[in-house]
């Protein structure tokens, strides 16, 4: 479990370049750093459900990103649901 306040990096991974897949991690976040706000719950992995594979149950986190971190400009924030396996811990709270 990743604690609130932990700095995380979204994996810079592109499964869509390797073949058919169903990903709930938006492309604009990949490789960018945010801060975990809270654990939202555990849910069956949509990447499995989409292909009728028995789903792994994964922790889902609400993660804050600064617009400047993603776009290089803007003073506002983005708040996005991201599944645990997509997150790499950078720095604990």
């Amino acid at each position: 479990m990743i604690a609130p306040g932990t700095h995380v990096r979204v994996r810079d991974d592109w499964p869509e370049a390797r073949g058919p897949c169903h990903i709930r991690t938006p492309h604009y976040l990949r490789g960018h750093t945010g801060v975990v706000l809270r654990h939202l719950g555990d849910f069956p992995n949509p990447e499995d459900l989409a292909f009728r594979r028995p789903p792994a149950v994964l922790p889902l986190y609400h993660v804050r990103f600064a617009q400047t971190e993603i776009w290089g400009e803007g003073g506002d924030e983005l708040l996005v649901e991201v599944f645990g396996p997509w997150l790499e811990v950078e720095k604990t709270a």
Partner: protein, 195 residues
């Protein structure tokens, strides 16, 4: 065999319903019930929740803790629906909801998403240039007000609990509910007393 996709859709639907019933997967009554629920869902449901939260602090606390429980408490059926998260605006913070990946939307409490919510332009601009997008809706946030754009990407659905507008002192809950619009609960607009 003829391509299924070229079959008349009405016949295809009837055949599918018959097979589902014959295999006891879902009964015609259950399908009718679900259609009735889907048709009954509309922004008026969410507006009732917002008005109640504006007038009842306990209900507001429940709504922010567990949106689905708050919806159930308002008589909105949530069985089989995704969890509902509620984002409370404050005088210093505004929320805007988008689904950049598709069109995830809190249908149980707001009904079908409006056409623009599903457009590529809205989905792209809400995350890339949210203040520019809001300005086109006539929603200009003061520069001191922070903005959080909530991208609905996975298992939750999100609605905004906007601030109660000035000039509504003494309004009944029903009067308050009548002024809350669909866009106010997505965050593209703000409730106004004269609406």
């Amino acid at each position: 065999m003829k391509n299924l996709l070229e079959s008349p859709p009405d016949k295809l639907l009837t055949a599918l319903r018959d097979i589902l019933a014959a295999k006891s997967i879902v009964s015609p009554a259950e399908i009718a019930e679900r259609i009735a629920l889907t048709d009954a869902a509309s922004p008026a449901q969410g507006a009732r929740m917002v008005a109640r939260a504006w007038t009842d602090p306990d209900y507001r606390a429940l709504m922010l803790h567990d949106g689905a429980k708050a919806a159930e408490a308002a008589g909105i059926p949530m069985r089989g629906m995704p969890p509902l998260g509620v984002l409370a605006d404050t005088p210093d913070l505004h929320h805007l909801v988008v689904c950049t990946l598709c069109s995830c939307y809190p249908r149980a409490v707001l009904g079908y998403p409006p056409f623009w919510f599903k457009s590529a332009a809205y989905r792209a601009r809400a995350v890339r240039d949210p203040r520019g997008l809001l300005a086109e809706w006539g929603t200009v946030l003061p520069s001191h007000m922070k903005l959080t754009v909530v991208d609905s990407t996975a298992d939750y659905r999100w609605m905004v609990l906007p601030l109660r507008p000035a000039g509504t002192e003494g309004f009944t809950e029903a009067q308050l509910a009548a002024l809350v619009r669909e866009g106010d609960m997505i965050g593209v607009t703000l409730p106004i007393a004269s609406a």
